[in-house]
Structure formats: C-alpha cells, structure tokens
C-alpha cells in the first residue's frame, strides 16, 4: 500500500448545502496507536471533522481514507462516543453496554462475558442493573465508554465526552481512559475545549482555526504512556500547556 497511515485525510472540505465552508483544505495523516485531539474556537468544525471520520456525514471535497476504506465501510473498526452519554433510557446499564454486541450478532454467552469485563474496566460492576436516570453524569459517561469499547474498536472517536462534567470528575475520567487504553489499545480522536485535557491525553494536538476550519498548528506531546495524574504537576507538562494555550489564543483573533 502506498498509504500506510491508519487515517489519511487529503484536501478535505465540507459545507452544508450552500452554506459557508465549515472545513477547507484539510490534510492530516494519523498513524496506528496515536491519540489526536482537535481543539479550536466554536465553529472551527472540529465536531464535523470527527463526524466525517466516522462516516456520519460525507465530505464535500477531498478524500478521507480509514484503513484503506471509505469511512462508511470502515465502521466496524470504529466507535463513537457522543457528547452526552447517549444511552437508551429504557435499558439497564448492562443492556446498554451489550447493545453493540447484540446488534452485530454475538452469542449471548460471549456478550455476557464481554459486558462483565467492560463494566469491571470502567468500575461500574455494581451498577449493572441500574437505569441511566439513576446514574450521575460521570457514571453515564463511563457506561458510554464501556459500550464503545465493548466491540474492541481499533479507532475510538470521542466528541467532547467530558465537556459537561466538573473538573475533578473529568480529570479522573481522563486518567481512567488512558488506563483502559493500556489494556485495550485503540487509536484515539478526541474533540475538546479543554487545553489540560488535550495535553494530558494526546500524542498530538491539532489546533483548528474557524471560518473556514483549517489546521492552524500541530503540537506534539512527547510524554510516554502510561501517564498518571502526577504528570499534570510537572514542569514539562505545564510548558506544553502554555504552548497549546498560546496557539489557541492565536487562532481566536
């Protein structure tokens, strides 16, 4: 193959109908095992970019290749974590986690085993029989992540999953997400507004500018995994934070 990247984006452009260009002339190659965050002002098209990779919306211009396939054909490799937890309110926690396995036709015994393991991974084994309304925002998000990882996707797309949570919960979920990734590796795409979150999670931060959405800067985050909470207090981390915040401020003008 001439194109070794797991996700390859060439001259990607997107507009809705006759509207303005939401994204324009994007080039990006992402390798297996990377964790890429998209950050930028409102309207920079970062959520749209994620939805394009997922194949939930089609490009207007350019091309997008996921593991040699169109996004729609590569769906088996991917899963999407939505902004709100997006759980089925009539199903209990375990059944929500089980849903993707059920839909792809896994056998009951295999499903049970996998659900039990995923709930254990996100620390919700005790809440398997609860309904979504009985859970806190952070717990709902954990269920959503367990559901996404139940199918062991190669690529996980996360659209501001922790945006509605308080900072402490968010930090904890960031740490847990990386811990999970140590056991069940995936290539991550992560949309966020939070600089701290982006630096803590990513191998690379793509800063987008708005109107139209373009890649302004790319920031590499060299810290090795596994990363733990202590990393946030180190000098190199704070420096990366400053660099990213500066880049973000530059595109806000």
């Amino acid at each position: 193959m001439t194109n070794p990247s797991l996700v390859q984006i060439n001259r990607l452009g997107k507009r809705f109908g006759d509207g303005p260009w939401v994204l324009d002339g994007l080039d990006l190659g992402v390798e297996r095992g990377e964790f890429v965050s998209f950050i930028g002002p409102s309207g920079c098209g970062k959520s749209t970019l994620l939805r394009l990779i997922a194949g939930l919306t089609a490009p207007t211009q350019g091309e997008l290749v996921v593991d040699g396939m169109t996004p729609a054909n590569a769906r088996e490799l991917m899963f999407f974590v939505f902004q709100d937890a997006n759980l089925l309110p009539w199903k209990r926690v375990a059944a929500n986690v089980e849903l993707p396995l059920l839909l792809r036709g896994d056998l009951a015994a295999k499903r049970q085993e996998r659900v039990a393991r995923m709930l254990d991974v996100v620390g919700l084994s005790g809440s398997a029989d609860k309904f979504p309304w009985q859970l806190s925002g952070g717990m709902k998000m954990r269920v959503s992540i367990a559901r996404a990882l139940s199918v062991a996707p190669k690529i996980l797309l996360l659209d501001e999953p922790f945006g509605a949570l308080d900072e402490m919960t968010r930090d904890k979920l960031n740490e847990d997400l990386l811990a999970i990734r140590e056991r069940d590796p995936f290539t991550g795409f992560f949309v966020t507004h939070s600089v701290t979150e982006a630096v803590f999670l990513s191998t690379r931060i793509v800063v987008l500018s708005a109107n139209p959405g373009r890649i302004a800067t790319t920031i590499h985050v060299p810290f090795p995994y596994p990363r733990t909470a202590e990393l946030r207090e180190t000098q190199p981390f704070l420096e990366r934070l400053a660099v990213t915040a500066h880049a973000l401020r530059a595109v806000r003008k």
């Binding site: 991917m78 997006n86 009539w90 839909l103 309304w133």
Partner: protein, 261 residues
C-alpha cells in the same frame, strides 16, 4: 400519611355537601321526582335493577374492550406504517383525518347497515372513536426518535429491522401509551354511544346505552340515573386498568413515571 388522609377526606366532604345540596334543591323547588329523583331513590333503583344493570354493564364492557383492543392494535399498525414512510403518511393522513372528523351519529347507521344491529357495530363505533388518538400519538413517537441514538445505531451498523425493534418501538412506547390512555377513556363512552345508536337486546336487556333508552321511554328516571352511575363506574375501572398498564410498562425508566430519589 397526613396528605393521603386529606386526599380521602376532602373529596368525601365535597360529596356529602353535594348530596345535601341535592336534597335541599328537591325540598325547596319541589321538582317532580320523575324529573330529578333523590339520591337514595337512585341507589334503590340500582339495587332493584341490579341483575339487569350487571348484564348491561357486561354487554357494554365487552363492546368497550373489543373496540379498545381493535383501536389500540390497528392504531399501532397504522402508526407504524405512517411513521416509517413519509410518503405513505403524506398520501393517507388527510383521509384518516376525514375518518376522524366524520360524526359517529352518521357512521352508526352505516355500520348497522353493513354489520347489523349489535356487538359488531358497537365494536366498530368504539374503534372509530378510539383509534385516532392512538394513531396520532404513536406516529409522533415513531417519527421523533433522538438523532444521536439513531447515529449510535448507524455506528453499530444496525439493520433496519434492528433499528425498529431496539430503538423505534421502545422509543415510541410513551407516545403509544399516551394514545392508549386517551383511547381508554373514550372506549366506554364509545361503547355506550354504540349501544345507544346500534344496540340490540337479548331478553329485553341490552348494553348500558340501550337501557337508557328503555328506562327513558318508560320514564323510570331513577333507573335512568342508575345507568349513569354504572357507566361512571365502568369508565373508572377501564381507565384504572389502562393507567396500571401505563405504569407497568414505563415506571422503571420514563420521566413521567420515575419518581425522583
């Protein structure tokens, strides 16, 4: 507990007050008893006519239940078709509205012509009164599925059948049950109207609607009022049953039924 006691005592006091007012009105105005009977005379009529009233209540209940089931079942199926095909919805919805606008008093003779006097016509009339709320609400439920959940199913590569089974039908449940509740309140009324317009009698006893005509023609006013009392009871039982079903199916998860912890 105190609240609960109050919610029993207060309506009971209102009831006592209304009955006292009723007796006072009869005393003061000297309305003839065949125009406005006293409450105890109505209760006496209930006792006297109990076997007739019981039989007619059963006849009406049968019409109401069958008509209700038809309205709910057929309504659900129609809603499913309308909800899944915007084209069919556009083509047929106006005619469903026409059917709904058609007064039952005009439909009743037509049903009698087609189906004859008796149960089939009564069921048809009950169905006509009850099916529209089921169709309208359930269709809305099938159409207004959460977009994010739909995309979740796209990401899972769900088939159309899976989407219907695991997302659309459970998602439409609250709407369907709302339609069902409305149909449930209408069904006993529909069956009584059906008795009234298309009822028939076995051994002189028909449904409640039929008996009102009989008692009215004989000017047996207390018995006439007694049919009203029986009709109310039947309605309460019916609505109670539907409400119970609503609770059964939704109380675990739906906002309308979940009590905050």
């Amino acid at each position: 507990m105190k609240r609960r006691l109050q919610s029993l005592i207060q309506p009971a006091l209102t009831g006592v007050g209304l009955i006292a007012l009723w007796y006072a009105a009869i005393r003061i105005t000297r309305i003839p008893r065949y125009v406005l009977p006293a409450p105890h005379e109505i209760l006496a009529a209930v006792w006297q006519e109990k076997s007739v009233l019981w039989t007619s209540a059963m006849v009406t209940a049968r019409g109401a239940i069958l008509g209700f089931l038809a309205a709910v079942g057929v309504g659900f199926l129609i809603a499913m078709v309308l909800g899944f095909s915007p084209r069919i919805k556009r083509s047929f919805y106006p005619y469903i509205l026409v059917l709904q606008m058609m007064p039952v008093t005009i439909l009743a003779p037509v049903f009698v012509l087609w189906l004859g006097q008796g149960l089939p016509s009564i069921v048809a009339i009950t169905f006509m009164i009850g099916f529209f709320p089921v169709v309208a609400n359930t269709t809305m439920g099938f159409i207004s599925v959460d977009r994010n959940l739909q995309e979740l199913f796209v990401m899972c590569k769900a088939t159309r059948a899976q989407e219907i089974r695991y997302l659309r039908i459970p998602g439409a449940m609250p709407y369907f049950l709302t339609g069902m509740k409305i149909a449930g309140t209408l069904a006993p009324i529909g069956a009584i109207v059906g008795d009234f317009l298309a009822g028939s009698a076995h051994n002189g006893v028909g449904g409640i609607g039929y008996m009102t005509i009989v008692y009215f023609s004989q000017l047996r006013t207390p018995a006439l009022f007694a049919t009203g009392l029986v009709a109310c009871l039947l309605g309460f039982i019916f609505v109670g049953g539907v409400n119970w079903l609503h609770w059964r199916l939704l109380h675990t998860w739906h906002e309308s039924r979940v009590t905050a912890e």
